[in-house]
């Protein structure tokens, strides 16, 4: 009873009734947040005042918490914009739940890089997207590492934007890379808007997908540890290898081989932690090489098969294969070239051109 009373009072004070869809959206977003993060995210949101936040009891059931938040938002007259910002905060914190695809933009030959203006970018992006489709919700949020997050909720000519299936785009200024997640349709519209806003010429999808967007950034911005031959050794990171207390009577007879494997592994993978990707897919279109007697398979057509490697942390797993004795060192370059070529979807044709950079469908 008191809840509905409060709502009416709030409406009377401000003369504004919050849209039902907005209220529902905020309620569902708050329900998604784990209990121990709720206060932190609401504080980051900066929409509710400190006194208002103090009235929320975080120890009751979540249904009640979300209801209280919705009522406070009603008092402050929340619009879809603020609701979208709360959603962006949630998705930024749990960014590793989505699968991100990397897109690369190219400039036409001869164009110089110009200084980037954030306000200009936002204006051009909104204008380009809105000119094609009126029913979109667009929100921007900048983060400390120069990342610009864009949230787009798509509608159609006759329906309002669907807030629950929003697309997220992450862009770092003055780089040609864009990270996009949850895109179902409307890809050409989004690409057009991005290219126009950032003054590039063209955009194409790279064969690089993963859940961990920070690792994708490490790969394309080349922030992962690569080995370079140098006389000046960089300060070694502290290794977590405690000296093993081995019985001195045990003698390692193939110590040299182990050291060779360790050295080769280090040359290929570098010293630091590898970027985190979850799978690598190789689509083979090579001819079957078998016994001449097996006529059935020695046809003129290539033998098609798809090999997929998956792991919670694929590159670290590959790095530990040789020292564990499960593979020969050095590993096949098809596996080790993943960070350098910035792709984890490959199409392998016959000997003539081993790694052809052709686009793969989903």
């Amino acid at each position: 009873m008191s809840a509905s009373g409060r709502r009416r009072r709030g409406a009377l004070n401000s003369g504004f009734t919050m849209d039902e869809t907005v209220a529902e959206y905020i309620r569902r977003t708050v329900l998604k947040i784990p209990r121990h993060e709720i206060m932190e995210m609401l504080t980051m949101w900066e929409f509710l005042s400190k006194t208002q936040l103090q009235t929320i009891n975080v120890h009751q059931i979540k249904e009640k918490i979300s209801q209280e938040v919705v009522e406070l938002c009603e008092e402050n007259s929340a619009s879809i914009k603020q609701a979208a910002i709360l959603d962006m905060i949630y998705n930024h914190t749990y960014r590793n739940k989505k699968v991100w695809t990397v897109y690369q933009m190219t400039k036409a030959a001869g164009e110089e890089t110009d200084s980037f203006n954030l306000a200009d970018f936002k204006y051009k992006f909104k204008r380009s997207l809105r000119s094609a489709l009126k029913n979109v919700t667009i929100n921007f949020r900048e983060y400390e590492d120069n990342a610009i997050w864009i949230r787009i909720a798509w509608g159609t000519q006759y329906t309002k934007p669907n807030q629950y299936k929003a697309t997220y785009v992450v862009y770092h200024s003055q780089t040609p890379y864009v990270f996009i997640s949850s895109l179902r349709s409307s890809l050409p519209l989004l690409c057009q808007a991005l290219v126009h806003a950032s003054s590039y010429h063209d955009i194409h999808e790279m064969e690089l997908r993963s859940r961990c967007i920070d690792s994708l950034k490490d790969i394309v911005f080349k922030r992962y540890s690569q080995t370079f031959q140098t006389y000046h050794p960089r300060p070694l990171q502290e290794r977590n290898v405690a000296p093993e207390k081995v019985d001195p009577r045990i003698i390692q007879e193939n110590k040299r081989e182990k050291e060779r494997i360790q050295r080769v592994n280090q040359e290929v993978f570098g010293e630091g932690l590898q970027p985190k990707i979850e799978f690598a897919q190789y689509k083979l279109e090579t001819m079957f090489k078998g016994e001449p007697e097996m006529d059935i398979l020695t046809e003129k057509e290539p033998f098609r098969c798809v090999v997929k490697f998956s792991s919670p942390h694929l590159l670290e797993a590959l790095k530990s294969l040789a020292p564990a004795g499960m593979a020969d060192a050095p590993l096949s370059p098809l596996l080790t070239c993943i960070p350098q070529k910035a792709r984890n979807y490959f199409k392998i044709k016959e000997r003539k051109g081993i790694l052809s950079a052709s686009c793969l469908g989903p």
Partner: protein, 273 residues
């Protein structure tokens, strides 16, 4: 029984012959196995021997490194001068190695150093700003016609492709100089921005807004007079990517009648420059 009768039919002597042959075969086999076992035992003993010898030599080497044998050198006079010579040789080698290391370190401190690789050369550009050394960036080049960059650790927003297109094939010195200027300027700008954020956070309101190349900076700061505080917003533009000083500074104030306080504002800029 049937066999015996069969043999006896052929003749007692032939039977005896066959038994003899059989016995000889068995004896040979026994000898063979015995020989193999003896061999095995001998090899095992040899392994033990060699291991002992190896351990002995190992301890000798260890002791020599510590210098204990020198103390016992009174027993054999021949050993001492040889040992001393060896130690002197080692010391000389050590000195030479230190010398070379120091020279390589000096090269590294100049900002541009390199190492020949199998197919080319790997350059290391180290950046610094006003006496503080900052990050190093690496560039692996393939020396062939045309010269190619194999891989590098230059950040993506430095216009490497443009500089390479202009200078890499024609004038490598110029290419490296330009790249070094860009990288040093970027490192300098980033360092200044970080220092401003860390050490002057009391003056600033909120955080510094920067872009990837750190060539456009926005920040808010307050100027306090006796009567009130004026919020100012400064925008620094670094037009030249190879310099670490701004080319343009724009200061705006939200309050209209703060024009008279512009002198105060320009005075406050001292702590930035």
């Amino acid at each position: 029984m049937e066999e015996a009768t069969a043999y006896l039919r052929d003749g007692v002597l032939s039977h005896l012959e066959k038994l003899e042959a059989h016995a000889r075969k068995l004896a040979l086999k026994q000898e063979e196995t015995q020989r193999q076992q003896e061999n095995l035992a001998r090899l095992r003993a040899r392994i033990q021997e060699l291991r002992l010898q190896r351990d002995e030599l190992q301890t000798k080497v260890n002791l020599q490194q510590v210098g204990l044998i020198k103390q016992e050198g009174t027993t054999s006079s021949n050993v001492e001068p040889i040992q001393a010579a060896e130690i002197r040789g080692q010391a000389l080698l050590k000195w030479k190695v230190e010398n070379v290391k120091a020279m390589l370190q000096a090269f590294h401190l100049t900002g541009l150093s390199g190492k020949l690789t199998k197919q080319g050369v790997c350059f290391c550009i180290s950046t610094a700003y006003e006496g503080t050394y900052l990050d190093s960036y690496y560039l692996d080049l393939l020396i062939q016609q045309p010269v190619q960059i194999r891989h590098h650790s230059v950040p993506i927003f430095i216009p490497l492709e443009q500089i390479a297109k202009k200078y890499l094939q024609t004038n490598i010195k110029c290419f490296l100089a330009m790249l070094s200027d860009h990288l040093n300027a970027y490192a300098g700008r980033k360092y200044q921005a970080d220092q401003l954020q860390d050490h002057y956070s009391a003056f600033l309101e909120g955080t510094l807004q920067r872009n990837s190349l750190h060539n456009v900076l926005f920040f808010n700061y307050d100027v306090e007079t006796e009567s009130k505080t004026f919020p100012f917003r400064a925008k620094l533009v670094y037009g030249d990517l190879t310099r670490s000083l701004p080319t343009e500074a724009t200061i705006t104030c939200k309050e209209r009648w703060a024009l008279s306080c512009l002198s105060l504002a320009s005075g406050r800029l001292d702590f930035i420059c």
